[in-house]
Symmetry: C2
Subunit: 343 residues, 2 copies
DNA sequence: TTGAAAGCGGTACCAC
DNA sequence: GTGGTACCGCTTTCAA
């Protein structure tokens, strides 16, 4: 059943039926009701291809994922963000076009999506400190929003969290508890969020006249394995850290495993603060550890980023929208004393 | 630059230009070359919306993910499969429409995607033993393929692995090693793959006159936490199992953590076989355990499923395509002896 | 308040 | 081998 047939069955013109269905005000209420009833009865769905052509809008948002960064897809953050964004798209009647391309072909994909009119806007994830995607998109002129930002956060829309402040605060907490040897297990620092986190860490130390011990700072893909290996090494060293600050729950899981193997208890022998859904202080006393926070804040970020992006596609001439979200620090019931140096 | 303008600039008709660009044979080689050169110079991209309307094909495959099964998205299998499928779509010129909907609205989403012509085919993941999506799609008449299958595997296309045989084989291996108390940590058995795996497990036991001890069989969402909790409990029991067969690497990770806490070594004190990329026998002797297999087989499955699905959209009248893939068992260097009952 | 008709940008049939 | 033209199904201006 298409519009023409529906109109014929109602003895109305396509025009009127179209207007009735799309909420135009000039349609008489009675007519609209009649049309809506018939559309429902016939289970009429406007053909999206025809509508897209006629309106010139794709009603589609693109997410382009580089394949070699496939690890990114494994990262739970990625899928949670996607779930949140997808929720908004569905609510607003937008489709999500997921394009998985070899790394190095991302910007070519942008050009193609833009010129063949497949999408109205693009979502950018995982920005680097220097990220050429941003300049490319500005040049193309397609609306886009970045989850995170680059070193230069001017002239485009983004939604980011207070990475620097959060890690400064977390470091302060550990310093307040008396810790002096704190390890930082960070994501790869070419990602902007990671470099901001490191700066927060260093800043908190500097504020107390301390400097980061380079042998306690690691950066790598944020896996459990990375946390395990680096924490294991550190725990066997002569002067092991008493606290760990990590950039991901997976890294913290690895630290936990290393601690268990070393016979240490999180929250008693060694302190761990990790970024996850906000920041969490981890411990494994008293049964179930508090690792199981939902990642609701990341879903929220996805929802909000999608909202902003859709707004941008509707009013592309508005200035950039930039939102900086605070990060909450969730403490376990007991943050524990400064651990003694373990045997 | 659209087709009309391109044609005008060449003093040719739209028809000829279109034919030249789309590889129709009747175009003179010289003309075609001229057209192609001009198209390239002008960076011409055919408008995908117009093309879709004119051809009546969406050139798009839909993946519909239920949101409450959002855990599914966290599951690495999900994203690996997606990455593989996405690769094929890109190669074949198809778009991937990812639709994230509340659980319970999945079939409504199918109807909508079908009637508004947004997709040419649908990819179905995570089939249940009884899965109403399949009947719904058969009724709708949209091409689809299932990754996995339901209890009744007739009349539709699917790509599955030999779950039953694999778990039977794995159980046989453990029995051959002398194990008699083997725990099965399975996925939720309303998923068809999980029920097949359980049957393989039970069948191997039955073939030796043994029956599964119900207190050693668990099913749950396949998380690390599940593996940890169930293995911890079992390891503290009076008569703990000497071997674990698990349905996911995450579960195996949980078993590993429980083992470490209990002072047991994988591959020496306790045997673990898990499904991951094929089946793997896990151990943690001699440094790095062999947990780090790539999930390439799942990506391959995604690629192949996408190929079949695209083929189905092109020739919807062909009979169903059904492929059953074997599962390889990868042994560690040492599978270890039957563990002594631990203290 | 409703309808006729001209697009939107291609594709594909039918002539020449 | 090339061109004219009628669609594809909907939106949107313009007239009535």
């Amino acid at each position: 059943m298409n519009l023409k047939e529906l109109a014929a069955s109602l003895n109305l013109s396509q025009t009127t039926v179209s207007r009735a269905l799309n909420g135009y005000p000039e349609v008489r209420a009675e007519t609209r009701a009649r049309v809506e009833a018939a559309a429902k009865a016939a289970n009429y769905q406007p053909n999206s291809r025809a509508r897209r052509l006629a309106t010139g809008r794709a009603m589609t948002i693109g997410h382009v994922i580089p394949l070699s960064d496939q690890h990114q897809m494994v990262n739970p953050i990625f899928s949670d963000f996607l779930a949140g964004a997808g929720e908004t798209y569905a609510r607003e009647g937008y489709d999500l076009l997921l394009s998985i391309v070899p790394a190095g072909e991302v910007e070519a994909a942008y050009h193609k999506l833009a010129t063949n009119g497949s999408v109205d806007g693009l979502m950018i994830q995982g920005p680097r400190t220097e990220d050429s995607r941003i300049a490319t998109l500005q040049e193309i002129g397609l609306p886009f929003i970045v989850h995170g930002r680059s070193a230069d956060p001017e002239g485009y829309s983004w939604l980011d969290i207070e990475n620097r402040a959060a890690f400064q605060q977390a470091t302060d907490l550990l310093l307040d508890l008396g810790h002096r040897r704190i390890a930082l297990l960070n994501g790869q620092e070419y990602f902007d969020f990671a470099s901001r986190r490191r700066r927060g860490f260093e800043h908190a130390l500097a504020a107390r006249g301390l400097t980061a011990d380079p042998s306690l700072v690691f950066e790598a893909e944020m896996t459990e394995e990375f946390g395990y290996r680096s924490a294991s090494t550190l725990m066997q060293s002569d002067d092991p850290p008493t606290a760990y600050l990590t950039s991901s729950i997976l890294i913290a899981f690895g630290v936990r495993r290393a601690a268990v193997e070393a016979g240490l208890s999180l929250g008693r022998d060694v302190s761990v603060v990790t970024h996850h859904d906000g920041l969490s202080y981890l411990k494994n006393e008293g049964g179930r550890p508090d690792f199981t926070a939902t990642r609701s804040s990341i879903q929220s970020a996805g929802r909000r980023a999608a909202e902003i992006l859709i707004e941008l596609t509707r009013a592309p001439d508005n200035g950039p929208v930039q939102e900086l979200w605070p990060v909450e620090l969730t403490l376990g019931q007991s943050t524990g004393p400064v651990p003694n140096r373990h045997p």
